[in-house]
Amino acid sequence: MLDSDDIGRRRREPAKRAARDEIDMNDRGPVRMKPPKFDYHAPDTVREAVAVLADVGDSAVVLSGGQSLIPMLNLRLARPTDVVDLGAIDGLANLEPVDGGLEIGAMVTHRQMETNDLVASITPLAQHAAGFIGHRAIRNRGTIGGSIAHADPAAEWPAVLLALDGTITLASAETTRTVPGDQFFEALFTTAKRPDELITSVYLSGRFQNSWGFSEFQRRTGDFATVAVAVGCVIATGAVVEARIALAGVAERPVRCPDAEQALIGTRPGRAVDAAIAARDSFEPVGDCHGSTEFRKRLVFAETKRAVTQALGPDLESRANA
């Protein structure tokens, strides 16, 4: 699966004669389709993997399922000196219920997320969202850890992670630390993960299992989201007491929308529309060949309204069709 904000949509420079060092012929001349050379490492354990990362540092990349990384390699948009393949490491593809939520190994595939019963019962939002990722062959190999490390702002997992109050566990040669999702995604393809760190697992809360919604605008089945909205709510005695709304495709990183979340708290009817308006007015998505800013804002409205309506259900959101 390609990264829609990266491939074929390079920065445009004004038409001036470029000096040699200003032009990356590869970046601008559309001719590369084979990976560049790199050194390959296939460690058997996490300990070995982080040792390699500590050793080679910044210019290494981690290969998990490869469904984001390998297209980048083929197009030579990524040029790592070293590739650290996690494929030989056991124990990174487990799913475990922990504290009412779900601990998900970094190498768990999208397909596992789509079909696993634990995912369906504890984090049904995640199970539902998994079906939107690419196509079956992509879901068979692509992993949740790989997607989150890649941090594509239009990808599903980062938004789902934010909506389900997720955390990310990172291992390095020195230590292991857990970072809340809200602090993890920093910028375009940029996260709090240091180059010497490895994502070992992801944790998703189970407290949203009774009230969740997910809606995504795809041009075609399996395409990257133009806009996707993930909603997790906690409802107590008929009132929304906690709401998390996360969006993909609206900014350079996956983001929550506090104004839209605030609009959901309580019992007031007509909240889906209020949240949708709040979300629409909160972002200025960058336009590109798949749609202008104005168009994307309308998608934000549409998909927020749909996701919230799904989360609250017809009883709580009787005026959802407003």
Binding site: K37, L63, P71, I138
Partner: protein, 161 residues
Amino acid sequence: MRDITVTINGRPMSATVDPRLLLSDFIRQDAGLTGTHVGCEHGYCGSCTVHVDGASTRSCLTLAVQVAGRKVDTVESLAPDDETLHPIQQAFEDCHGLQCGFCTPGLLMSVAELANTNLVCDRAKIREHLAGNICRCTGYHQIIDAVEQALAEIREVQIDG
């Protein structure tokens, strides 16, 4: 360079490969199995779809070194012999589910996966399953006909068997 051993269409094969070599190129060039076609090399068209340990995989989005020790099956593995086609292949022939034949091997491997995991599908489900295999010739209708026929055929054989 790296030494790998892969079981390809049931036969173990050892090779020394550059780690950057794509599985698609390994299959076509090192293994000489040119039935796997390369249409985009960025994971969108589905022409290069093969099975790795039974699961459909884009061979252009996989490095050859990643399948070391694994089982790779390509379109050449489907038909039991030179006289008989696999029921999926036969259905594609019967229903005119192919024209130029370029996307066909990848499609067949995707359908084979469907037949292994979900034998009861309506046309909409079949369409959804195959949305990652672009065919520019057929307009899909006759492919969907073929998949319906193949799944019914395979169901029948399983019941009889």
